[in-house]
């Protein structure tokens, strides 16, 4: 089963094409991660799946219908997107933010039904921001703030959630925290997650399906265990590296070759760490 598919999708700004004639299938109920270098078009592709960018050619199909011909409110009930580093208006409280996720279900006289309230409360519970509901979003820490935004997406109650680099500007602890949360949402609630990640190692740990984008199209896609190879990293990122098994998760781990400082006896240093 596919959640979203694209037919000969061409994307770009002005004259220049960023993605050309792409046929892509996003599997349902899985975590799909887009990887690629800066400017490879992975964010552009993600945005077009959420109708934030109109395709130049081709189409994006959601539930068998072209999204360009589906009422935008209908789409908002099936799919939500969290853009990269969103900024909340000054002084908005967490509850007021999460409540915005209910927009596609509301009308001007019916703005806080029991269903809305339940969805918002649940979203704040799952993301662990319930105790912060009356706090101002701009006063929260980076990790809490990102959880509040994800709560807004959850309140939207969509089967598909797209996230553009949800871990940017977070320290490693909070990166793992956010990705664990998304992984739980996928496993426990069977939500389809599609996200752009910069860190290839984290991508390999969390993704069921990796889509590597390079040269305006898909270089390769599939299970990270089989597709992530030194060759892929060289072609997609232009980086020479060694791929090892992550000692914690067993997923591929990229060890980039670089200059820079290195221990005289690297093997000794590793033993000490172990």
């Amino acid at each position: 089963m596919d959640a979203i598919r694209t037919n000969a999708l061409t994307l770009g700004y002005g004259e220049e094409d960023i993605i050309e004639e792409l046929d892509l299938v996003i599997p349902k109920g899985k975590i799909t991660v887009f990887i690629g270098g800066n400017g490879s078009g992975k964010s552009t592709l993600l945005r077009s799946l959420a109708r934030l960018l109109k395709p130049k050619e081709g189409s994006v199909v959601l539930d068998g219908a072209d999204i360009a011909r589906t009422p935008t409110k209908k789409i908002a009930q099936k799919l939500s997107i969290l853009p990269q580093s969103p900024v909340a208006p000054e002084g908005l409280t967490v509850l007021e933010l999460v409540k915005q996720g209910r927009y596609p279900y509301q009308s001007w006289l019916n703005q806080w039904s029991e269903k809305d309230e339940k969805a918002v409360q649940r979203a704040m519970e799952v993301t662990g921001v319930k105790d912060l509901s009356e706090r101002k979003v701009d006063s929260l820490s980076g990790g809490q703030r990102q959880r509040a935004w994800i709560a807004m997406n959850l309140a939207q109650d969509t089967d598909i959630i797209l996230l553009d680099e949800p871990t940017t500007y977070l320290d490693l602890t909070h990166q793992i925290d956010i990705l664990d949360l998304l992984s739980d949402l996928n496993e426990e609630e069977n939500r389809t997650i599609v996200m752009v990640l910069h860190d290839i190692n984290l991508a390999c740990r969390y993704a069921d399906h990796i889509v590597a984008i390079s040269n305006k199209t898909i270089y390769h896609q599939g299970d990270p265990d089989t597709i992530v190879t030194p060759e892929l990293v060289a072609n997609v990122f232009g980086l020479r590296c060694q791929i090892m098994n992550d000692p914690h998760s067993g997923t591929p781990m990229c060890i980039p070759f670089s200059r820079g400082r290195r221990k005289k006896d690297a093997s000794h240093a590793r033993k000490m760490d172990a």
Partner: protein, 350 residues
């Protein structure tokens, strides 16, 4: 006490914010106090209790006349003009997602000034007498505001939509252009027109009468009622274009409607009270400090703060320098300009 309490009757439901309701009640009381003070103070001082009696026609004839016929229309005009400008600014700041946006900056006030000066010059004969009734002046100003608002809107149109930042930049450009024309007409015209136009440009509620008040009130409440329906849309607009699209709102259609509302609210205010400066910038700001950015709370609080500012400023403007009377716009700009600089100073690290 809980801050958020749901309100539900059948299919009608809202989330009420008790803290905001408390602010609204407090500000309404403050407004009433300011109105009574303003009605009482002047060349003839009337005690607050006599002011209230005068409103019910039961004070001395002199008090009744001064309070009801001379001061009341002026105070109400100050209230509604301030409220209109404040709400107009609140809408723009939310939609453009920039706290420095206001009706003066995107050219609405400038357009109205141009129309006013043009009206005074065009309809004056050689002896500087108006050839048409002065009653048409507000209409001219209103048309000037609306036309400029839409001119800016259409010039900002690009690739099937408008981007808020482009709107601001074009607004500043158009504003500067109409200002040049305004100055030119004032310099070329008779000195009498220039001084009269200058008072209008600064903003003044001096000489407001009941018929003007009865014209602005229905328009104000009609626009506020439409805005009430749009509050939800304004709330998602404020999250930015991507998130508004994500929520399933029709962004460009909503923007058009919100700009129309904002321009009209500023338009009715400047039509009768002139270009009272900085209220559209300051009032929404103060309101945001009090109740945050959710428009259900922000709109009524902005309106009341704006009204209070103009009533208070006008009270000072007509009493502090007595027997001289200063246009209220001088006072609001005198407070507003430093406030504006303070805002820029405070946001310098962002």
């Amino acid at each position: 006490m809980k801050r958020y309490v749901p309100f539900r009757i059948g299919n009608i439901s809202f989330l009420m914010n008790y803290r905001s309701i408390a602010y609204v009640v407090g500000l309404v009381l403050l407004t009433i106090i300011l109105i009574i003070l303003s009605l009482g103070i002047g060349q003839l001082n009337v005690a607050p209790i006599e002011v209230i009696r005068a409103l019910f026609d039961s004070s001395t004839d002199m008090n009744n006349l001064v309070v009801q016929s001379f001061r009341m229309p002026r105070v109400l005009m100050a209230l509604f003009a301030g409220a209109g400008l404040a709400v107009s600014g609140a809408i723009l700041q939310g939609m453009i997602r920039n706290p420095l946006a206001s009706p003066d900056i995107i050219g609405i006030t400038g357009g109205a000034a141009f129309a006013t000066v043009g009206f005074l010059a065009f309809f004056s004969d050689r002896s500087n007498t108006l050839t048409v009734s002065i009653q048409w002046l507000p209409l001219a100003s209103f048309i000037g505001a609306i036309v400029t608002g839409f001119l800016v809107y259409f010039l900002a149109w690009k690739n099937g939509g408008i981007k808020p930042m482009r709107l601001v930049l074009i607004g500043i450009g158009v504003s500067a252009a109409v200002q040049a024309f305004t100055t030119m007409i004032m310099i070329l015209g008779p000195i009498f027109t220039a001084s009269r136009a200058n008072i209008w440009i600064t903003g003044s509620v001096n000489g407001a009468n009941w018929s003007e008040v009865w014209t602005i009130i229905p328009w104000f409440f009609l626009l506020m009622a439409i805005l009430f329906v749009y509050v939800r849309r304004l709330n998602v607009q404020e999250l930015g274009e991507d998130l508004a699209a994500n929520a399933g709102s029709l962004i460009q259609r909503d923007r058009f409607m919100l700009i129309t509302l904002s321009t009209s609210l500023a338009g009715i205010a400047v039509a009768f009270a002139g270009g009272i400066g900085f209220v559209g910038l300051m009032a929404p700001h103060i309101a945001r400090r009090l109740v945050g950015s959710s428009f259900g709370s922000l709109i009524p609080v902005s309106a009341l703060v704006g009204g209070c500012i103009v009533i208070a400023a006008d009270l000072i403007a007509r009493t502090a320098f007595a027997p001289l009377e200063v246009p209220v716009g001088v006072l609001t700009s005198a407070i507003g300009a430093p406030y504006f600089i303070y805002l820029l100073y405070k946001s310098r690290n962002q």
